[in-house]
Symmetry: C2
Subunit: 378 residues, 2 copies
């Protein structure tokens, strides 16, 4: 199916453009998911098919409640008698995505970041984890990518065993619809660690963005989701997302990943934005005193950040005043670093019209289109 | 010894006041330390005296290098042939503190936050940990508090065993020179956890501030210092400080500590400031959606923050532009939340004259004096 992109402008508050003929709206975080985990069984290796049929597909959980109807948008639930079922249907239905998001907002390109296999990287068994990612990728290609040219895939990989992750990247990385690898914020080590370097090397080779997204932090082998142990409530785990993003970003820079693999780009989705500003300021200051300890970090940390790291808009920071909002976008260097992300179909998603107050024309173009086009080579 | 406070104004850039007769300059983070750990042995219980004589005082370490001459100010090292010795002498010499800081800058009051027993709270054995804190407190009283009325003490406690921590607070908490308890950012659980509530109850009873300061994160029983495991380099551990501060602050608020103990005040020293701004914005937004899960959090999280949490100035955030600097102070509600901290005698310390560009008169007074006076009841 071929869809003419950008044929219709978004008529909504804050939209500043007229009719556009190029890619004007890219969404860097849309979640596709299986209706039920067992849907993946036919795509799995025989040994795990058998275990899954006997015991179900065992995933690790962290034990924190999310909100009502399992984090889905209530307005997308079509059958109130079976909310759980329908919630899962939201992210498992391409037709709903098309109707409620792609067509409604005239979205030109979306990055499918998955959902069902978030937790694979923190599963104990690296072979099972890799097999599960492979199954979800094949299922996504068949049920999503084949249906609409607007869909791009952040392929699932498990970082547990870099060799297996690289094999999966080699298997799918040349498919032009595959634009990124998707890994969770929750991990056993910060992602700059040498353990992961073969994966980043493979991403650079295939031009894949490293997309990092909250998911299963504090579960399985991931360890506690804060630097001071396990928090008690769900709201605390949400506040831990910027903390984890910060630790990963610092690690990528301090371990010299962007010097070693200058083609690597990292996208943080759903981790807020303010941490990135503070990190650039703080790390630049510290680097001036401490750079003899990491001589491979040759430039100001903020320079690596602005060149290699991108930040999704959702959830957009909500300062007390408009002046603070504009200043934070400026301090974030949003014209380079910020990309629109919706988090469709979750309850706290942001549609493209109400994420921001009316942006200046150029900033609007950068955030909703150009930064993402450069990131994914569109 | 009685010292006339405020007799001499600080003549330095940024100083806006004339001669002052009240408490005009309070420093909320000065590190006193023993010359060598064995100096504490006479103050310890007999069982640990014996073990310490045979094996030394066993502390947990994290294995990250700091900077040259073990984190001390090179300009305070008086004997270049024995830098290690003299570095330790800096923080172990009241005379040097008096000459180089108290008298030089005309400091009216300083909070002694210690150093030698940072790691007690993350030692495996809670009895030894408590004994070590007790020894250091007695040593500090004898060698520091007795020498100058400008000195206030943040007494060491180990949070490992709340019962023992409460006993130490009961032992010393009525001494008017004791103004706070000192605990490290590194911990096994976020400090809002119910495990710690008896300690906060005792702090409220005695009007003691809960002072939290980096120290020994990632060592001993503290677990990894980020939410994604152990980083590799020292600069990463410094960037982890705001992450840990954030996790503790969120925990205090989410677990309802400030509702349960409305007299409790928390001071974060040496953790930067930007995280506090983002936390208030982000947590307020999330609370609006999620407050049914923590109904004891009755007000906006930022209201608890502004009323109960104070932030030390060192290291002061270093934005790219002056406009960003002023906006961040404004967004931080610095007139309520920010207190001057020097971190004397460490290499990255901030003297009172150069921490800021010239502040408006009222903000200067709040940061350098009034916020701390209200915090410590001076």
């Amino acid at each position: 199916m071929v869809v003419a992109v950008g044929a219709r402008p978004i008529m909504a508050p804050g939209w500043s453009g007229g009719v556009h003929t190029d890619i004007a709206l890219v969404d860097c975080d849309v979640h596709q998911t299986v209706h039920k985990m067992d849907d993946l069984i036919p795509y799995m290796s025989r040994v795990y098919q058998q275990q899954a049929r006997e015991q179900g597909i065992r995933m690790a959980g962290s034990g924190y409640f999310n909100v009502a109807i399992d984090a889905g948008r209530t307005d997308l639930a079509t059958d109130c008698d079976a909310p759980k079922h329908n919630v899962h249907d939201m992210g498992s239905s391409f037709d709903l995505l098309k109707e409620q998001h792609l067509d409604l907002w005239n979205v030109d390109k979306v990055l499918l970041t998955g959902a069902s296999t978030y937790g694979a990287s923190i599963l104990p068994d690296p072979d099972f984890a890799a097999d599960l990612c492979r199954a979800f990728n094949d299922w996504t290609i068949e049920h999503w990518l084949e249906r609409d040219d607007r869909l791009m895939m952040a392929m699932s990989i498990s970082v547990n065993d870099p060799r297996l992750a690289v094999a999966e990247i080699e298997r799918l990385g040349n498919d032009p619809r595959v634009k990124a690898v998707m890994i969770p914020t929750g991990s056993r080590m910060p992602y700059g660690n040498r353990h992961y370097h073969p994966i980043w090397e493979a991403c650079e080779k295939h031009g894949l963005v490293v997309a990092i997204h909250p998911g299963n932090e504090g579960a399985g082998m991931a360890g506690p989701p804060t630097g001071v142990g396990y928090p008690t409530y769900y709201i605390e785990t949400r506040m831990a997302r910027p903390q984890m993003a910060m630790a990963h970003a610092v690690s990528f820079i301090a371990e010299g990943v962007f010097e070693k693999y200058p083609g690597v780009k990292v996208l943080f989705d759903e981790c807020d934005q303010f941490w990135a500003v503070g990190l650039m300021w703080h790390m630049d200051a510290d680097w001036k005193s401490l750079r003899d300890q990491t001589p491979w970090v040759k430039r100001l940390p903020s320079e690596y950040f602005r060149e290699h790291i991108r930040i999704g808009t959702q959830p957009m920071l909500e300062p007390e005043t408009n002046e603070q909002f504009w200043m934070m976008l400026d301090a974030l260097h949003a014209e380079e670093t910020l990309v629109y992300s919706s988090d469709w179909p979750h309850w706290d998603w942001d549609d493209p019209a109400t994420t921001f107050p009316k942006l200046p024309e150029r900033l609007h173009r950068r955030v909703f289109s150009e930064n993402a086009r450069e990131l994914f080579g569109l």
